[in-house]
């Protein structure tokens, strides 16, 4: 039985991992674009993005996931997501990417605006180009500011993947839960918890390492 459970959970973990990685892959660049959008001097654009961020951060991710998964089918009359597991994962990744991009954009913006203007000015008077200033001076200072809030958000993402269960994606929590439903077993739930703890534990070590690496300056 233990082996069966382990295999199921590993299966679920794979889906969880897939959602996690794909969400990061899309949300990080999208978040950066949104951050630049909110800082844009073109007011309508900045206002539009700020409203989007407000709506996305002000409503539950689970609600957003339901809307994105079921909405198109209701409005268009046919589902844009394929009916299999891949379609559910894709819908999840889309909903998560939008949601996390909004959270990331706020963090990015804080990181970018947190670097004092004097840093770029010092670069300018030394004859550096804007590109040189970004890559040689401000980027690392931004990263240093961004890492702590970012690691919090990314660890939350690990646990948020369990929301995909609501549209029946077979991720880790669903896998553990299924044994309670089918065989009345509760220990797989705790076993599932261990999987999450290991996942989060590895990430925590990774982020601690990065923070340490950036600890040499202030």
């Amino acid at each position: 039985m233990f082996w069966t459970v382990t295999q199921s959970l590993l299966n679920g973990l794979l889906t969880t991992f897939e959602i996690f990685i794909l969400t990061l892959a899309f949300a990080l660049p999208l978040g950066l674009i949104l951050a630049f959008g909110t800082m844009s001097k073109f007011k309508p654009l900045s206002a539009l993005i700020q409203i989007l961020v407000w709506v996305i951060r002000g409503t539950p991710l689970m609600l957003q996931l339901i809307v994105i998964f079921y909405g198109p089918g209701m409005w268009l009359g046919h589902n844009i997501w394929s009916g299999d597991e891949a379609g559910r994962i894709m819908a999840t990744v889309v909903a998560f990417s939008i949601n996390y991009a909004c959270y990331f954009s706020v963090i990015f913006r804080g990181g970018i605006e947190g670097v004092p203007a004097g840093q770029s000015e010092a670069g300018l008077v030394l004859g550096m180009t804007k590109t040189q200033i970004f890559f040689k001076i401000t980027l690392l200072q931004m990263i240093k500011r961004i890492v702590p809030p970012m690691s919090n958000e990314i660890i939350t993402l690990v646990k948020d993947t369990s929301l995909a269960r609501i549209i029946a994606a077979y991720e880790l929590t669903f896998a553990g839960y299924s044994f309670m439903k089918s065989a009345g077993l509760t220990w797989p739930l705790f076993y599932t918890g261990v999987f999450y703890l290991l996942f989060v534990g590895i990430l925590t070590l990774l982020f601690n390492y990065v923070e340490k690496k950036l600890d040499y300056f202030r």
């Binding site: 004092p116 000015e121 008077v125 030394l126 804007k130 040499y216 300056f217």
Partner: protein
Amino acid sequence: MAILEVKNIEKHFGSTQVLRDVSFTMEEGSALAIIGSSGSGKTTLLRCLNFLETPNGGTISVKGETLFDAAMQTKTGDKELREKRLHFGMVFQSFNLFPQYTALENVTLAERLLAAEQPDYKVNKKEILARIDEHGKELLAQMGLSERMDHYPHQLSGGQQQRVAIARALALKPDILCFDEPTSALDPELTGEVLKVIRGLADQKTTMIIVTHEMAFARDVADNIIFMDGGVIVEQGPAHEVIDDPKEERTKQFLSRYTQG
């Protein structure tokens, strides 16, 4: 010929006029101190010289070359602007050192980046970088910081940080070095070491513009002094005359606050 000629500079932010018809000249190797109360436009003037602000009127010429002319509203390209900026160096009130670089790296960064754009860089990379490092070390030694070259800014005292910033500004050999209240952010016991370094530069005939609230220092070190109030130059002349025997009522009032203090 004057090394710097500033004519009729005007600057406003929105509807507030910050600089009004500011004109002065400087001779090579001389030191000019700018004094004046808070908000009189001293920082804005230095920022205009360093192209961090664009004046709304007037001209700026260095060694007879017109670097800025408000009447010629041509857009200056990034590259051109960089070259113009290199005529001036700037030491900020708040140092603005790059925290992720050591003292030596702070001093050499700009020079390295400029060197990397030269055509012969790839071939002679090693020698070029070694020479730049050597130059940076010399400058830091001149600032009395030989022992601190590998320290990061947060490991240095304010006075040491400002001296690194001065070395950094000197690295590109600007024609005119500008200081914006270089000691205002420092504890009183640390101002001396920075003033001493600036005095040393004056002795070596470095062309400098120093915005300062240290009146005694301005009188001793500067050749000429400009007193600004409300965005205009109220009085300018030889340092001793302006400080010891001011002509204008507003200058007298301003200076009396310091002598009484």
